[in-house]
Amino acid sequence: MNVAVAKTGNGRAVSDLFAGAEGRLPGSPAVIVARREAFETYERLGLPHRRIEEWKYTDLRALVGEVLPLAASPDAAALKRAAEAVKAHAIAGARKLVLVDGVFAADLSDVKALGSDMSFRTLRETLEKDASLLKTAVTDAVIALNAAMATDGVVLSIADGAQLSAPIQIIHIATAASASAFSRSQVAIGKGVHATIVESFVAAGAKAYQVNDAVLLSIGDDSDVAHIRLMDDAPDALNVTSHFVTVGANVKLNFFNMTTGAAVSRLQGFITFSGEGSELSANGVNLLQKTEHGDTTLLVDHAVPNCVSRETFRAVIDDRAHSVFQGRIIVRPDAQKTDGKMMTRALLLSDEAEADNKPELEIFADDVSCGHGATAGALDDSLLFYLKARGLPEKQAQALLIQAFVGEAIEQIADDGLREHVIGIAERWLERRS
């Protein structure tokens, strides 16, 4: 790639931003060094563009152009708007941890209700002592930028054996227009834990903002975890999120992502099996309209034998929207008896809608079962006619069929209240269709 291009234009804008923000970014001297290194990595790489293979379909340089200045810490008015948004988007019964423009908001959160089997700190507190949270096994330009700029986040550990009846909901609220929020969270789950972690991204009146989030999730042996991400940012926002997930032995991990917002978004997940006998079910739904661009990129690394991964991804694409799914499965040389499959289905609601699908299998073991499949198509005319002949207007008939299409993925969510919450978000997306 062309380094000179990266440094001019975009590079300089961020450089100014970093210089201006550095004084507000928390951290010990070691953290400050790590941030500068991360920023140098970003400066060297620049915003990802189409000539970088992993970003081929999501050219941030063309789609976004520049990184906006760091959002100011939320003031009283912003926190008041955020409180309204919390009310509107909280899942009934969930324990909430709220970040406003990337800054932890204690008054809006349920830290005291977390109980004795969880320990909580903010990222800001953690970085005063420990720089390790800024390091990840994989890095690219947006991950490096996150490490350089991460302002705050949730650092949560769940003790061995904890059986959490209610979900933990991390709510990201944007109140600042034309500004960036950089958040980074760590959730360390012990052994034999039963837990549901939900992340919600919403706007409280903010427009044209940017979110760069990172989540470091580790799951101990014998745990049963549901991890649900609901990205419903403002229609003109940018959301780039990176997940780093380590899965222990005999774990059941049910991951679900739904994208219903943001002009441009990318979720990139790096999931590694580090213990045998585990099962990953990763389900995704992209609901895109207008000129929205939604990218889900998952790398599942079968580093050990005897694990199962299932990826089911569905995209509903209207108008001139563009959905991207990149799924890569790596099976390491001794990861025998790996069973890894991915399936994507795209529903194209307009002639100008676009779906790109890039499955990749890298198999270095010889006794494995891996596969991928993909379909793309329009709504079935015969089904639409049947519904219309029974009195449903076109849009309502379409809505019913779209709900059925994504319903199969949503049904994977076991918790009734949570599933209803997700269905509600999908229904609001359908109502927004013109």
């Binding site: 519904l387 002949a389 009195g391």
Partner: protein, 250 residues
């Protein structure tokens, strides 16, 4: 006033003319059978009345209660009281039958400016009707027609007919794919819906169905036209002599 008036209807599919000037009048309370060989245009007529896309009406008109049916979208026709029982009801995975029934019924009521059914009232109505049609409740929780037998699919059509209370029912080859017991249950359901205010057009290839749903009038179609009309005895005559005579006549 006639409930349904089809006047000199000419219909093309792609470049081929299927109906060459078909005329048919159906009054309230009457049951008309339309018989004819494969390819005579019977199903095309039912699709055009219901508003299925892909058919081009080049001449003639269809009036329903005096209104121009061809100007209406399929959902408007349904709300006005036109019901097509499909020859092959589609399967809709992921849409529970109960959800579908309630959504459709309320969409029709809304279009007519009537209040929507409350959930308890709706459930009560569905239970009554499904019981009379021998439709088990667990079938209503499944996806629309998903995994239903041929007989169950047709009973589901009759269930909808009973719920939506249309004034015109068009039954397209209701007997296809049904054994004699399934046919009897479906036909009993249809007969229970006969009333002075409701007309039916029964489209069938075989006379057998008309032993169960006895028509007032029988029309023979061949090559896109009605070539003979008569009373119910015409069906028996056809059973004995076949369609060949009409194919020559048309």
């Amino acid at each position: 006033m006639a409930l349904l008036e089809v006047k000199d209807l000419k219909v093309r599919v792609e470049e081929r003319e299927i109906l060459h000037g078909l005329t048919l009048t159906v009054n309230e309370g009457e049951v008309h059978a339309i018989m004819g060989p494969n390819g005579s245009g019977k199903s095309t007529l039912s699709h055009v009345i219901a508003g299925k896309p892909g058919y081009e009406v080049t001449d003639g008109q269809i009036l329903f209660k005096g209104e121009d049916l061809l100007e209406m979208d399929p959902e408007e026709r349904a709300a006005k009281g036109v019901f097509l029982a499909f020859q092959y009801p589609v399967e809709i995975p992921g849409v529970a039958t109960m959800t579908f029934l309630r959504t459709a019924l309320n969409a029709q009521r809304k279009a007519r400016g009537e209040s929507e059914y409350s959930t308890p009232d709706f459930l009560k109505k569905v239970r009554e009707v499904s019981k009379s049609l021998n439709i088990p409740q667990d079938m209503l929780k499944r996806g629309v027609n998903v995994g239903f037998s041929g007989g169950e699919k047709k009973r589901n059509e009759v269930l909808q007919m009973a719920l939506f209370e249309p004034s015109l029912c068009i039954l397209d080859e209701m007997d296809s794919g049904l054994d004699i017991d399934a046919l009897r249950i479906a036909a009993d359901g249809v007969n229970a819906l006969r009333s002075p205010g409701r007309a039916m057009v029964v489209i069938t290839h075989y006379q057998r169905l008309l032993n169960y749903i006895v028509p007032d009038f029988v029309h023979v179609m061949s090559k896109g036209r009605v070539v003979k009309s008569g009373g119910k005895d015409l069906a028996l005559e056809l059973e004995a002599s076949g369609y060949t005579q009409f194919e020559d006549a048309a």
